[in-house]
């Protein structure tokens, strides 16, 4: 038995070493940037980091402000782009970013991106508040239906996100949980590959299963209305434009409109494929199309 256990452990250790070498050589799992938490309780990235995306064909970078992508040369005539992993866009090279495509369409403006995966509506609002100091002409908040729900403690509790408690009207700041463990996991590429492909996938599948088993939750419009009302100040609606992904909930859009937000609803033609095969995020083509529609509609606001 002792011999068997020793052999198994030796083999596992060797397997891990070989796996790690293969994982690093072929970049089978992406590099993940380290995060910190700012004074407003928003998780963002530690500035000046670089890493490779899966497959190693392109690299991502975190700029001096702690957001992915390249900063504009100037902040004159500035338009900011705020969003979640769709804008963070690690899966595409920097040449496929919204700010690059929008700049091509509207060369008279400078575009600055501020994004992080999982950003909800309230966090996007707070990031926009911070960027107000740069006096942008417009702030584009790329949102999805779930971003509103994820902003409310009572609807979707997540201590890693800044959320709004609609019962006592307070904002609960995000916490950075087990960052050492996470960083260690990200450092071991092979273990991270196993974790993300088998454990996390399984968890996601289970969650989808339980979600489908549960009765459909009716649109939490009342709660979202409370959230929007509490955030509703003129400076937050005047120059902010919500960019909704295709097929967004029309009730939520109407609610935002009633609160004074300007909005753009993206429309994906049936014959166009904007996303990757096994990943809902936009491809370069998708980003280009999104930027085309956004620029066209943005021009109407500018005019």
């Amino acid at each position: 038995m002792k011999k068997f256990i020793t052999t198994v452990f030796l083999f596992l250790a060797l397997g891990m070493i070989v796996g790690e070498l293969i994982a690093r050589f072929f970049v089978i799992s992406p590099d993940i940037p380290k995060r910190s938490i700012d004074q407003w309780g928003i998780q963002k990235y530690i500035p000046k980091q670089f890493g490779k995306w899966k497959g190693g064909q392109h690299t991502w970078q975190i700029n001096e402000l702690g957001w992915p992508g390249i900063l504009p040369n100037s902040t004159d005539n500035l338009i900011t782009i705020i969003g979640d992993s769709f804008i963070e866009n690690f899966m595409n090279p920097d040449s496929c970013r919204q700010n690059i495509y929008l700049k091509k369409k509207l060369p008279g403006f400078n575009f600055l991106e501020a994004s992080r995966s999982g950003v909800n509506f309230i966090e996007a609002t707070m990031i926009a508040d911070q960027l107000d100091s740069l006096q942008p002409k417009y702030q584009l908040l790329y949102v999805h239906d779930t971003d509103f729900k994820e902003s409310i403690v009572q609807l979707s509790t997540n201590t890693q996100l800044t959320q709004f408690d609609i019962i006592n009207g307070k904002i609960t700041k995000a916490k950075l949980k087990s960052s050492f463990a996470k960083n260690s996991l990200y450092a071991c590429k092979f273990i991270y590959y196993l974790y993300s492909n088998y454990w996390q996938n399984k968890k996601n599948k289970l969650q989808t299963k339980t979600k489908t088993k549960k009765k459909e939750i009716p649109p939490q419009l009342d709660s979202i209305k409370i959230l929007l009302s509490s955030l509703n100040t003129p400076n937050r609606t005047d120059n902010r434009i919500l960019v909704f992904r295709p097929n967004a909930d029309s009730d939520i859009i109407q609610l935002c409109k009633n609160m004074g937000y300007k909005y753009i609803l993206l429309k994906q033609p049936e014959n166009e494929k904007w996303s990757f095969d096994h990943d809902p995020h936009w491809t370069c083509f998708g980003h280009k199309k999104v930027a085309q529609q956004t620029a066209r509609k943005l021009l109407k606001f500018i005019e």
Binding site: F4, V8, L14, G15, V18, I22, Y198, W199
Partner: protein, 480 residues
């Protein structure tokens, strides 16, 4: 719980640790642990159906005890039939109720009589066909006085629900597996290592071969109207490897896992696609089921020691029942009937036992005659699997007709090069290993006697599993 899941990767070492380190000297506790672990393993899927296994265990244990006390033939017959009715009753209700109901209503409507019948929304308990046959083998062997009825309820429970083979076999005979629960198990290094190898080979078969073939087979079978004859033939070819990789992969993992716990399960597959005739194929495919039917159905019916018409009848009965065992659908009956038709000429001409040893025994390459024999047997098998995979008999017939149209010799519309390369490598390895117990059995000399090369091969296989593994799918035989 699926063998190819993270849950099982945690479950197995945990049970292994408890088995050998916490209860190493107490046989009863080890057996009890097996029962508990098996119930957790099964309950992971649906705990409600544990009651069926428990009930079946209690019934067959009690009948076994009663048979031990009873000498009168009538009472013994009654006890045997009670066991058969209870076990087959459950199986019949859960597996065949809706089938018979639908068939009756269809038959009545065919003759112009509309009858209203309500089919039930019945969930088929995973593995019911397997453990039902296993417990039946116990009662029948005790009835025949070929096996001493057990007094050890825990050992019997462990025999019924032994987790490695509970849901998809091999269907063990009580006379082979039950006595292993009475004896103290001693850890055997070489057995355990070989078990690990067999698990690894089983995982490769399931994750790389079966799951990848499944993607293409599903696409082609689900949209068969859109594809050329050559593509349809390729679809049937993919299903042929899917079902082999899936089921024999499960058996390999089951046998390998059992070996880690000091148990020997019977061989269930012996490289069946290298068979030179259909009779040989059936001696090498799902051996535990074929021999079960042989011993408990075919021989009692008279087997081959009777007149020609009786032989034909017996052959048809055994193949039809075998087909029906797989599922409540006319397609399985058609599959069984087709195999009976394949088998009959060999049986009648007395040539059904021509090929007993492995093909090209002791040689690397087969002769031209063997290549032809293997190729033609494989082709017949591929055609038969179309019935097994199709939704209904009409679909299967349409599929077969469409294979043999003018587009058969056109270039297939789907030709996954990576998968074809993997299949070629897989077939070559299995061919080289065909005289052994499984695809990764290593003994004797050769390069693999050196540990670095051996370990390199294992790591290579693991890398292939991670790199080319298909999307996780349930084992096909879970539904039988």
């Amino acid at each position: 719980m699926l063998f190819n899941s993270v849950d099982f990767a945690i479950f197995l070492p945990l049970v292994f640790f408890l088995y050998w380190f916490v209860f190493p000297k107490k046989l009863k506790l080890q057996n009890l642990l097996i029962v508990l672990a098996s119930y957790v393993f099964y309950g992971w899927w649906d705990w409600r159906f544990l009651s069926l296994i428990a009930f079946s265990t209690i019934v067959d244990y009690s009948i076994g005890r009663a048979l031990a006390r009873e000498n009168g033939l009538n009472k013994r017959n009654m006890l045997l039939w009670t066991s058969i009715l209870v076990n087959l009753g459950f199986l019949g209700f859960f597996k065949y109720y809706n089938f018979f109901l639908d068939s009756f209503t269809s038959a009545f409507s065919f003759f112009g009589q509309e009858i209203s019948a309500h089919s039930l929304n019945i969930i088929l308990p995973v593995g019911i066909s397997f453990y039902t046959f296993q417990t039946l083998s116990y009662t029948i062997d005790v009835y025949r006085k070929q096996l001493e009825p057990t007094r050890d309820f825990i050992a019997f429970s462990a025999f019924v629900c032994f987790f490695p083979q509970l849901v998809a076999g091999p269907i063990e005979r009580a006379s082979h597996l039950l006595p292993q629960f009475y004896k103290k198990r001693v850890f055997d290094y070489s057995k355990a290592v070989d078990g690990m190898r067999q698990i690894l080979w089983g995982l490769l078969k399931k994750i790389v071969i079966a799951d990848n073939c499944a993607e293409y087979a599903n696409e082609i079978f689900n949209n068969s109207g859109e594809y050329s004859g050559s593509t349809l033939l390729l679809g049937a070819f993919f299903f042929t490897f899917q079902i082999y990789g899936d089921f024999s992969g499960y058996s390999d993992i089951a046998i390998g896992t059992s070996r880690l716990f000091g148990f020997d399960l019977m061989k269930n597959f012996a490289f069946p696609y290298f068979s030179r005739d259909i009779a040989e194929f059936w001696r090498r495919w799902h051996i535990s089921l074929s021999t079960w039917f042989r011993d408990y159905l075919y021989i009692p019916l008279g087997g081959s020691r009777c007149g020609t018409w009786m032989k034909i009848r017996n052959i048809f009965i055994i193949f039809l029942v075998s087909g029906f065992w797989h599922g409540a659908n006319w397609t399985f009956l058609a599959w069984g009937a087709l195999n009976a038709i394949y088998f009959l000429p060999l049986m009648i001409s007395g040539k059904n036992r021509l090929n007993i040893d492995a093909a090209a025994k002791g040689k690397i390459l087969p002769s031209f005659k063997e290549i032809f024999q293997i190729g033609s047997t494989f082709f017949l098998t591929v055609l038969a699997w179309v019935f097994f995979r199709a939704e209904n008999v009409a679909d299967a017939l349409r599929y077969l007709i469409n294979i043999f149209d003018t587009t058969l010799f056109s270039q297939p519309q789907i030709f996954p090069t990576t998968l074809m390369t993997l299949l070629a490598l897989f077939v070559i390895t299995e061919w080289l290993q065909r005289e052994k117990n499984h695809g990764l059995e290593i003994y004797g000399n050769g390069l693999l006697k050196h540990r670095p090369i051996r370990w390199g091969a294992y790591i290579g296989i693991i890398t292939i599993i991670f790199s080319f593994g298909g999307s996780q799918q349930e084992f096909i035989y879970f539904q039988f």
